[in-house]
């Protein structure tokens, strides 16, 4: 039985306690954390009047009741490692529990000899401080979560550094699996992917809870840098338990002729806030952004996106699909921003919502802000129900209504799942979605 010390709750007094507990953190990082903590305390909590929190149930967003995570006990750690089955064919794997590293499957000696780094941040903060000092939390928040980003910077102490040098191509996916364990536990996962010129990699983040019913706070930040000509595929699978509150901020930056594909899967959390900022910084760069979400019960999945076109001849294509059951709610707010110099931009944004219940609520706020004059841009949003004719057809073959609905949701999702280049990874996404449709 753990005694909850008052000083461990996310209150003003807690931060000193955090620093005492983590003397391993390097000085430069402690300085950054102190600054961020002060910012966190200063910044206002979100209100519904703020454009970036429109439609969100901001009363759900209080974090004071959460506390610093206890280390996962060895017995539990073994069980979590055992449950960390996602995909078999990987080039490397890290398993975290409450922000500590539980297990490591390092990358091959060959990749290491080429200069690839795949390290828990806790080690990398010291061993590769030259990279971290430059890249760790170097991107600003653009979509409203400044306060939670500051909280993340202050209290994060682990995560993943993946660095791929020039011209190195990694075929198999690399994966980091984050577990949160314990009642009122707060975790701060972090991902930093740096793909140098003409490199190639697929990286996967999986977020899960050890318990099905312990309220947890996950406040994560992921950043992907694709340098000229690099090809990066990034997956995040948000599958925290449904009592949890989660924030996730993803920033992807594509330089000249770089190619980024991001796939999000939002299944968990009572309230999930997910922000995705894509920056097309180099001419000829390309970003494809896909997301699937299944919301049920009274879940709220709030997704905000920004496609920033800063360079000419770049292309971005966004497709977010949500399926909603029961009293659940989703918010999609997306903006395409084209700078004056970003001529010949191709930018698209589509949000499709499938309502499986008359009491579910899908909000859609698409937007364009175009300063260049020679561009092709479009945005669109649709919200609809299951097609009666399709349902009748499936039922007429003897398939029960719940199974028929599940099949139709999978059909709806297949437009995204079918685009994944790695079959095992696509199957993993499918398996997680299937589980969500299984009766509890």
């Amino acid at each position: 039985m753990t005694v909850n010390k008052k000083s461990e709750f996310l209150s003003e007094a807690m931060f000193d306690h955090f620093l005492e507990r983590h003397t391993e953190l390097p000085k430069w990082l402690v300085r950054q954390k102190k600054k961020s903590w002060a910012e966190y305390l200063d910044l206002p909590a979100p209100t519904r009047k703020m454009e970036s929190w429109r439609f969100a149930n901001v009363r759900d967003l209080g974090v004071d009741g959460f506390r610093l995570a206890d280390p996962v006990r060895e017995l539990d750690a073994n069980s979590l490692i055992e449950q960390t089955k996602s995909i078999q064919q990987t080039a490397g794997k890290l398993v975290f529990g409450n922000d500590d590293i539980l297990a490591e499957e390092p990358i091959s000696a060959e990749l290491r000899s080429k200069g690839v780094l795949f390290e828990p941040l806790q080690r990398a903060f010291t061993d590769h401080s030259e990279i971290l000092e430059e890249f760790f939390m170097a991107q600003e928040s653009a979509l409203g979560s400044e306060k939670f980003t500051a909280l993340h910077t202050a209290l994060n102490r682990n995560g993943t550094l993946l660095f791929i040098p020039k011209n190195v191509e990694i075929e198999l996916p690399i994966i980091s699996h984050y577990w949160a364990q314990g009642q009122q536990t707060a975790v701060f996962p972090h991902t930093l992917v740096i793909a140098r010129d003409n490199s190639k990699v697929t990286f996967v983040d999986v977020y899960r809870s050890a318990e099905v019913d312990a309220a947890q706070l996950a406040c994560g930040v992921s950043t992907v840098y694709a340098d000229p000509g690099a090809k990066v595929e990034y997956h995040y699978i948000q599958n925290w338990n449904e009592d949890s509150l989660s924030f996730n901020r993803l920033t992807t930056i594509a330089q000249r002729d770089a190619n980024i594909r991001a796939y999000g899967l939002n299944l968990g959390s009572k309230h999930a806030r997910s922000e995705g900022h894509t920056v097309l910084d180099g001419p000829g760069s390309k970003a494809e952004l896909y997301s699937l979400a299944v919301a049920h019960a009274n879940q709220e999945i709030d997704q905000r996106t920004l496609q920033s076109h800063n360079a000419p001849n770049a292309r971005s294509d966004l497709l977010f699909k949500n399926a909603l059951q029961n009293e659940s709610k989703t918010i999609f707010s997306g903006l395409i921003k084209v700078a004056e110099e970003a001529q010949l931009t191709d930018a698209y944004q589509t949000n499709r919502n499938l309502l499986l219940s008359p009491t579910a609520e899908a909000n859609s706020l698409p937007g364009l802000e175009i300063l260049a004059n020679d561009v092709r841009c479009s945005h669109g949003a649709t919200t609809g129900q299951i097609d009666e004719n399709e349902l009748f057809y499936l039922l007429s073959r003897g398939i029960s209504k719940p199974t028929a609905e599940t099949l139709l949701v999978f059909g709806f999702f297949e437009e995204v799942l079918g685009k994944m280049s790695n079959d095992e990874l696509a199957e993993f996404h499918r398996e997680r979605v299937h589980r969500k449709f299984e009766p509890a």
């Binding site: 057809y393 499936l394 007429s396 073959r397 003897g398 398939i399 099949l407 139709l408 297949e414 079918g418």
Partner: protein
């Protein structure tokens, strides 16, 4: 008892009565054809028996081997053994034929049990070969982008896999060229069995050259006005539906 029995069935849609005290007995082991001009209730009969909720049953009964099917849900009627081959098969984006048929077969398994995947694919490929459907179709979305002939062959494929006790083929010949028609008819003929009753709904006699029926019924204004053997179909073909109409208005009933 071993029959699909429809007795005095009246069905309306949007308040308009389409089937009017319709009666039919289709015993197992037989193939019956229902012919009739457009708008006489052919498709209504098919959809109403399949349990479509837009079709209001006002009176009458429909039983399969003695079991009332009018109170059952659409999926239950199917699992009881009724199969409807659609006139216009529905496209289901993102759901592959293989997964679709497997889900239908699993729905017939005891709770929590699934069919054997290896045996399933073996049979699926064999049935596809008989119907001239390329193996690649298993991973294609149901009916999406299919030609008319491919859609109809896909209906017969489902029928062959599900092995229903009673089949209703709703204008399966519409939109088929002669080669596709022969393949589909061949597929249906392979399904003829002592354990199965087949009802072929069609506007034209042409299909009945290839699926030779034991009985032919003429549907007019929501009920069967004339029944006979296969020669009735030829007579209708020769003399047209107006011949029936004239007989009816002259007060001649058979």
């Amino acid at each position: 008892m071993n029959a699909l029995e429809v007795n005095q069935l009246s069905v309306s849609i949007d308040g308009k009565r389409i089937l009017n005290e319709f009666s039919l007995s289709l015993p197992k082991g037989e193939v019956h054809a229902i012919m009739g001009p457009n708008g006489t209730g052919k498709s209504t009969l098919a959809k109403a028996l399949a349990g479509h909720e837009s079709y209001m049953v006002e009176s009458g009964t429909a039983t399969m081997d003695g079991k009332n099917i009018l109170d059952l849900e659409v999926d239950e009627i199917s699992r009881e053994g009724l199969f409807l081959a659609f006139q216009y098969p529905i496209e289901i984006p993102g759901v592959t034929i293989a997964n679709f048929i497997r889900a239908a077969l699993n729905a017939r398994q005891p709770e929590g049990e699934d069919i054997d995947a290896v045996a399933y694919y073996k049979e699926l490929y064999a049935q596809m070969e008989r119907l001239g459907i390329d193996k690649k179709f298993t991973s294609r979305s149901v009916n999406e982008g299919f030609s008319g002939g491919e859609k109809k062959r896909c209906e017969i494929l489902q029928m062959a896999m599900l092995k229903p006790a009673y089949c209703i083929l709703d204008e399966t010949d519409s939109g088929l060229d002669i080669d596709a028609l022969k393949i589909v008819a061949d597929g249906v003929n392979h399904m003829r069995s002592e354990d199965r009753g087949i009802l072929v709904i069609t506007h034209y006699q042409r299909l009945l050259n290839y699926i030779v029926p034991d009985r032919v019924h003429i549907l007019w204004d929501g009920r069967i006005v004339k029944s006979g053997d296969k020669s009735l179909a030829l007579e209708v073909e020769e003399r047209g539906y107006d011949w029936i109409k004239e007989r009816l208005t002259a007060g001649v009933e058979s």
